[in-house]
Structures are given as structure tokens and as C-alpha cells.
């Protein structure tokens, strides 16, 4: 079986974000980049399925973005993906989910992927659309937000995470697409030998212009910092003094010490 895993490279969310000069995205210089957290679960699941099925199972990891996204792809290769397809696009952040999904669908159509895994959303844009749109474009069934996956006789049984600790159990025959939620598995850390091995794996680059055949359905007009509510008190200083001040506040504002 051929498995496709779509990954995105995103900034570390602990970063201090600034607005870009164009005002429609965040400034991308001086950021630490990593694989989108949700996608790590997708890669791990693909590798576990390959371990289960063995044989001629092949995992392709795909990413759309500028050259730096190859770092995230190399991590996926070191985790156990077999080959990479980098869709070179310096302006991927200007594209909406529909365009990104169309680009991937254009690449994937006719390649007979039996299983496609994506993160349930990206940490930066957070639209949670690309996976579902891609499945629709490829006419595959899709189930979102999975926290459990098992495969038997060509049918996947997955657990969808719902609100309040509930899950829905869903059965889907492959080929199908699933979007992965945190907690689906425990993503492995690439070992040094596997990092070395990954360097030898195929990592092909395709030009986005050859794959983009649609126009955006929405556009980011503006990116902005949130309006500060300013109601909260911010305390900084020496630890002991901070603790005294918080005790004082709790005595005044709450009944904890009564």
C-alpha cells in the first residue's frame, strides 16, 4: 500500500510574533521552525501502519512551502517515511486552504494512495480544512480528529474525538483520508542512525506553478496582534516578593484563606 502523509512546517508557538511589512502575515525571519505538532502524529501513525503491514508499504511525505520546509520533511524521513515530495512554494502562506488542497490533490491524483494522513489543523493558520478538502477532491471518504486507529482487512476503525471526553467509533474502508489529533499515538524521536539514513532517502522537488490550477476562495486582508483586554495585572520581579504579592491579592480577592 502507498501511504501519503502531508506535513507543514510552522514556527515554534512560544515565539514572539511580529506582523510582516505587507501586514498580511507574520514576519518569518528570526523564528525557530518545526514540524506542525499534529502532523507528527500523522507521520507516527503511518510508520506504525508500515510496521504492521510490512511488505511493500511505502510512505511518501509531502510538504508545500519554501526550501526550509525540507527540514520538517527530513524529520519525517528520519521517523520512518520512505521518500519526500517537496512542493516548492515561497508564497504558500498567501494561499488559502482550497488552493493548498488543490495543489496536493493535483500531485496525488492517479497515484493510488491507499491511505492519506494529515494533521487535523496547522498550528499557525488553524483552519482545519486542507485534509477534508483534499479527500473531497480525490473523492475519498474522510474522518477528522482521530485519536485511535486500527486497520484490519482493508477497513480502518478509528476513534474521533468529540467534546467532553466522548469519542465516536467510525469504520471506513480504505482508500480513505484521516486527520490526526494530538494523543493519537506517541510520536517517536528520530534516532541518530535513522537521521543519517534519512539523508540518503529520495527528496524530490516540484514547482508549485505546475500544480496550481485554481484561484483562492478567501484572502487574508490583514494580520494583527490581538487587542489587549488590559484588565489583568501583570507581576514581574523577585520570586519571594512575587509570592507575597500573590498571597496578598488572594487574601483580598478570594476566600481561599478564610
Amino acid at each position: 500500500m502507498k501511504i501519503l502523509v502531508c506535513v507543514k512546517q510552522v514556527p515554534d508557538m512560544e515565539s514572539r510574533f511580529r506582523i510582516s511589512a505587507a501586514g498580511t502575515w507574520y514576519e518569518t525571519t528570526d523564528l525557530a521552525w518545526r514540524m506542525n505538532e499534529y502532523d507528527e502524529f500523522a507521520v507516527e501513525q503511518a510508520v506504525q501502519i508500515k510496521e504492521q503491514l510490512g511488505g511493500d508499504t511505502e510512505i511518501t511525505v509531502l510538504s508545500v512551502g519554501p526550501d526550509r520546509v525540507k527540514e520538517a520533511m527530513k524529520k519525517a524521513l528520519a521517523m520512518g517515511a520512505d521518500r519526500g515530495v517537496h512542493i516548492q512554494d515561497a508564497a504558500n502562506h498567501e494561499k488559502d486552504s482550497f488552493e493548498i488542497a488543490s495543489i496536493i490533490a493535483e500531485y496525488a491524483s492517479g497515484q493510488n494512495f491507499g491511505l492519506i494522513l494529515t494533521g487535523m489543523q496547522s498550528q499557525d493558520r488553524g483552519s482545519a480544512q486542507v485534509g477534508v478538502l483534499l479527500a473531497g477532491m480525490l473523492k475519498l471518504p474522510a474522518v477528522t480528529t482521530i485519536v485511535g486507529f486500527s486497520l484490519e482487512n482493508g477497513t480502518a476503525t478509528v476513534r474521533r474525538e468529540l467534546e467532553g471526553g466522548m469519542k465516536a467509533v467510525v469504520k471506513v474502508p480504505l482508500p480513505a483520508l484521516f486527520t490526526c489529533q494530538l494523543g493519537l499515538n506517541t510520536p517517536r524521536y528520530p534516532t541518530l542512525p535513522n537521521i543519517m539514513k534519512a539523508k540518503k532517502k529520495e527528496l524530490a522537488t516540484l514547482a508549485v506553478a505546475d500544480l496550481l490550477k485554481v484561484e483562492a476562495l478567501s484572502v487574508t486582508e490583514k494580520m494583527a496582534l490581538p487587542e489587549k483586554k488590559g484588565s489583568g495585572l501583570i507581576l514581574e520581579g523577585e520570586i519571594g516578593e512575587l509570592a507575597d504579592r500573590v498571597i496578598g491579592i488572594l487574601k483580598e480577592k478570594t476566600a481561599v484563606f478564610k
Binding site: 510574533f17 498550528q123 477528522t144 467534546e163 471506513v172 474502508p173 487574508t220 490581538p226 520570586i239
Partner: protein, 307 residues
């Protein structure tokens, strides 16, 4: 403007979040009608047309059937907007509809200003202002971003809808979380550990502060997913929704799904190294410090006070 609202049902009951779509339509001054796959015996309080399909027939999770039913309604009505909750139901169905109609979908809307939809980005550290390029747009609303000012009221004019549809997904039922060791919804004080505590051994430091404040230990999702704290202590939309008198967030950045689970707390103290962490939006006091140093210091001082 005409808005088609999509209601949600679970285990035969209307979900209260459905009214957030009603509040959104009211805010926009849109003429609203509703669609849901649910229970005819538990309709929403809503004055307007309700297109209802029986969940007993189609299943509460059956995306292909739900999409086909929704498209059936769109053949009868020509709304300018289709509104869903940004929930496990909404984010699953909305992109399917947007693709079927080739229209824009805008996810997790928190506000509308000057015709632009405002959505969070980068763990809510940024706001993206989005314009649809299509006449019709499908939007999902962030949980809790829109609320009715009063109690929901009204009686819908129900039209049952039916279609025949083949489905490739089979909904095999629900799994309910096992009862855990604690019911946080009753706790008056909760001290929660987040990813910022760094290592599982440090959970004990946060539990120590919880004891000193006579409260219960809570946790954010990554801490529970990592197996450092058991699931019944998870605060957030996929865990417990809590409203203690005092909530202390230790090393919790404040992901939307966590904030939605604790923002009704009486008083919120957040301890975080990152001054810009979104938890600051709901904190009454944000202590900018290393939680591993500050929590023991606060616990020692609290323990020395007579309760």
C-alpha cells in the same frame, strides 16, 4: 442577509452550542433559518424555519449523508451564509460543504468587523482578518465567542427532510470517558499544570501548590496526552469544563480549547515565563516567572497561613 444555521445533536439531545449560531445571526442582523440532523422531540427554541432530518435514520455522525441533506436544504434556500460551530461536528462538515459548493470556508470566527471575519492564528497570539471571494461563505464559530443575551425562546416551523444516500463511513457508536479519580466540576480551587512544567517529575510541584491552596490538581491537554496526569483531571473542551472560585494556571500557554474549559472561573492566576501567552487574556493576575521556582515559593507561603 440570510443565514442558514446548522444545529448539533448528541445522543438525541440538542447541544446548547447551537444557540451560539443564533446569537451570531442576531449580531449580524441576518434573517436566520436552521438545519439540523437530530431529534424531532427535542427541537431548538428558535423562531423561524427549521429543516430537520431524523438522526435515528441517518446517524449523528455520517458526513456523506449530512452533507447531502445540507445540500438538499441549499436547493430550497439561497442563504448568504452557512453558520456552524467550530466543533468536532462543524469542522468536519463545513469544509465538505464549502468544497461541494466551491465557496469559501472561514474557520473559527471570533468576530466580524467591516465585513472581514476575524479568526485566531498562532495559538491565538495573532488575529487574521479574512475576506471571502465567493458570494456565499461557510463559517464556523469559535466556541463561546458568541452568546445570546437572554434565554433562547421561540418555536420553530419544522419541515422534515429526507433523502436516500449511500455512505462509505459507518458510525459504530459512542465511547464515553471512564469515570476518573476526581470530579473537577465541583472543585472550588484548581491548580493546573501545563506543558511549561517541562517534565513529568514536576507534576508533584504543582500538586504541592494545589494541596497548599486546598484545591485539586488539574492539567492541560498536552500534559494528559503525555500521560503525566490522568484524564479526569484534564481541563478544556475535550476534558472537563470547570468554574472554580480560584484557578491557578501553571505553565499553561492558553490554547483556545483550554480557555473554553476554564474561563468562567471566579479568579484566575496564571504563572508563565511568556508575558504574551494567551492565558494572559483571561488571567486576573499574570505572574511572569519560572513556574518551577514560583510554585514552591507560593506553596510555602500559603501553607504557613492558617486556613
Amino acid at each position: 442577509m440570510k443565514a442558514l444555521l446548522v444545529g448539533e445533536y448528541r445522543e438525541g439531545k440538542l447541544l446548547g452550542s447551537t444557540y451560539e449560531t443564533v446569537a451570531f445571526a442576531e449580531k449580524l442582523g441576518a434573517k436566520a433559518m436552521m438545519f439540523a440532523i437530530g431529534n424531532p422531540d427535542d427541537p431548538p427554541h428558535f423562531d423561524g424555519k427549521l429543516y430537520l432530518a431524523d438522526a435515528a435514520q441517518y446517524g449523528e455522525y455520517n458526513p456523506e449523508a449530512h452533507l447531502a441533506l445540507l445540500q438538499e436544504v441549499l436547493r430550497k434556500e439561497q442563504p448568504d451564509l452557512v453558520v456552524l460551530c467550530h466543533s468536532s461536528y462543524g469542522w468536519d462538515l463545513a469544509p465538505r460543504l464549502a468544497l461541494a459548493l466551491t465557496v469559501a470556508q472561514i474557520s473559527e470566527v471570533i468576530d466580524v468587523q467591516d465585513g472581514l471575519y476575524i479568526v485566531p492564528a498562532c495559538n491565538s497570539k495573532l488575529r487574521r482578518k479574512v475576506k471571502p471571494n465567493s458570494n456565499l461563505a461557510v463559517v464556523t464559530l469559535q466556541s463561546g465567542a458568541f452568546g445570546l443575551t437572554g434565554e433562547p425562546s421561540g418555536t420553530p416551523n419544522i419541515e422534515m427532510i429526507e433523502i436516500s444516500v449511500e455512505s462509505r463511513t459507518e458510525f459504530a457508536g459512542y465511547e464515553v470517558a471512564e469515570k476518573g479519580e476526581v470530579d473537577l466540576s465541583r472543585a472550588e480551587v484548581i491548580v493546573s499544570a501545563g506543558r511549561g512544567i517541562g517534565r513529568p517529575e514536576n507534576v508533584e510541584i504543582i500538586a504541592g501548590l494545589a494541596r497548599a491552596l486546598h484545591g485539586e490538581l488539574g492539567a492541560s491537554r498536552p500534559v494528559v496526552d503525555s500521560g503525566w496526569v490522568e484524564h479526569s483531571r484534564q481541563v478544556g473542551t475535550t476534558g472537563q469544563t470547570v468554574a472554580p472560585k480560584l484557578y491557578v494556571a501553571c505553565g499553561i500557554s492558553g490554547a483556545i480549547q483550554h480557555l473554553a474549559g476554564m474561563k468562567k472561573s471566579g479568579f484566575v492566576v496564571a504563572i508563565n515565563k511568556d508575558k504574551d501567552a494567551p492565558i494572559g487574556e483571561v488571567a486576573d493576575v499574570l505572574v511572569v516567572a519560572d513556574v518551577l521556582q514560583f510554585a514552591p515559593a507560593l506553596a510555602a507561603k500559603a501553607a504557613s497561613l492558617a486556613h
